[in-house]
């Protein structure tokens, strides 16, 4: 079988390893080359090391090179690449082009699906492998896998789970393709349920303390990519005229009975913060650029407030 892999990040690397494990070394990997001055490990460097031809990812916006057009490609796999692939690439493979989307379609099309699911308090998340069409995340679904979101799940954990489940879907595709491809499902998406979620995080970078505790905690977990930088930043509040960021929080144990933003009793594992419908327990904050135990920084009776306008998600770390 002849496969072209368009991939990025650890999911793209996982797909490359899966293909090699299955004895299907890709005919080409399209990925972003590292900057010339940057030493390090990348999908690009690993493809080279393994003897897999690599092309710059932006090639998917250009005509298909002759050698690939004549190679008799069976499958094109798009794994976490954000480049919009031109139509001639999509019609190139005999069995089709497939996108591994790290979210449930049609409701979570677009970017950062796991973070949106956490922010919205969804009970389940999932991954979707779908046939590619010129539209973004619009093609018929081949396979989809759902799994519950646990109380301790963060954006990092949910994304890692999505990658693991997604590679399982790619395995199904390779098996079906190996049997001729006729068993690859093709279920049209109900586009009346489609939502396209963009790059901009919700709430303008502020913790929505006037709202429910669950919404606040959802946003904190949605931004939790520790120990790696968060693409959504970290939600914050104003303490006086300075921003304090809420890094980790969990539901409090009793109703607040005071104005949203009021800090309540301190505990061994954090300090209570009043929201619209009760307390949440703040465990970790970032203050002066350092992550610290919240109860060591914040004081009972202080009032935190949401700042004006859009703070663009605060610290991207």
């Amino acid at each position: 079988m002849k496969v072209v892999l368009v991939g990025e990040e650890s999911a793209g690397l996982g797909a490359l390893r899966l293909l090699l494990d299955r004895g299907v070394p890709p005919v080409a990997v399209l990925t972003t080359p590292p900057a010339a001055e940057r030493r390090g490990f990348s999908l690009w460097s690993e493809a080279h090391r393994l003897g897999v031809p690599a092309l710059p990812a932006h090639a998917v916006r250009e005509p298909v090179p002759d050698h690939l057009r004549q190679a008799g490609i069976d499958l094109l796999l798009n794994v976490h690449s954000l480049h919009v692939i031109r139509a001639p690439w999509l019609t190139l493979p005999r069995l089709g082009a497939f996108n591994l989307h790290p979210g449930l379609l049609p409701e979570y099309a677009g970017l950062d699906s796991a973070s949106w699911a956490l922010y919205e308090g969804a009970g389940t998340h999932g991954v979707t492998l779908h046939h590619m069409e010129p539209g973004i995340d619009t093609g018929p679904i081949a396979w989809q896998r759902r799994f519950p979101i646990g109380a301790a799940d963060t954006a990092l954990r949910l994304n890692q789970r999505s990658i693991r489940e997604g590679l399982g879907l790619l395995s199904l595709l390779l098996e079906a393709a190996g049997r001729g491809g006729t068993a690859i499902p093709r279920v049209p998406q109900d586009l009346s349920r489609r939502r396209y979620l963009g790059r901009t995080p919700p709430e303008g970078g502020w913790l929505p303390i006037e709202g429910p505790v669950a919404r606040c905690i959802g946003l904190v977990r949605a931004c939790d990519f520790r120990p790696f930088p968060s693409p959504w930043g970290t939600p914050g509040l104003l303490r006086g005229d300075r921003r304090v960021e809420i890094v980790q929080a969990s539901p409090g144990t009793h109703p607040a009975g005071c104005a949203a933003g009021t800090l309540g009793p301190r505990h061994d594992d954090g300090i209570d913060l009043a929201c619209g419908d009760g307390f949440l327990r703040v465990h970790l904050v970032r203050w002066n650029g350092t992550v610290m135990a919240a109860q060591e920084v914040l004081r009972e009776g202080e009032l935190l407030r949401r700042g004006p306008g859009d703070d663009a998600g605060g610290t991207k770390r």
């Binding site: 990040e9 650890s10 690397l13 996982g14 390893r17 030493r39 390090g40 490990f41 990348s42 999908l43 460097s45 690993e46 990092l156 954990r157 890692q160 789970r161 693991r164 990519f225 520790r226 120990p227 790696f228």
Partner: protein, 90 residues
Amino acid sequence: MAPHPETLRTELLALFNQDLNLAVEHAETDLLEQGILDSLTFVELLFRLEQRYGVRADLETLDTEKFRTVARIAAFLEEEIRAGRARTAS
């Protein structure tokens, strides 16, 4: 028997500098703070550790603090080898 921690540190520094092409000078360098380990290189590190030492860990569940420095990774490996959940380098 678990290898001497210094041996593990030397092996790991070689893994970073030669196999992963990531410059790590000292065993106490903070790999996360310095941006040496990101989600891609972290996953690749776990893959290489499994290949070489047979240790199984995934980013979904592990305590990333144990991977903050080469010294801490060496301590983690030593513990895993002592517990029979990993082997010496192959």
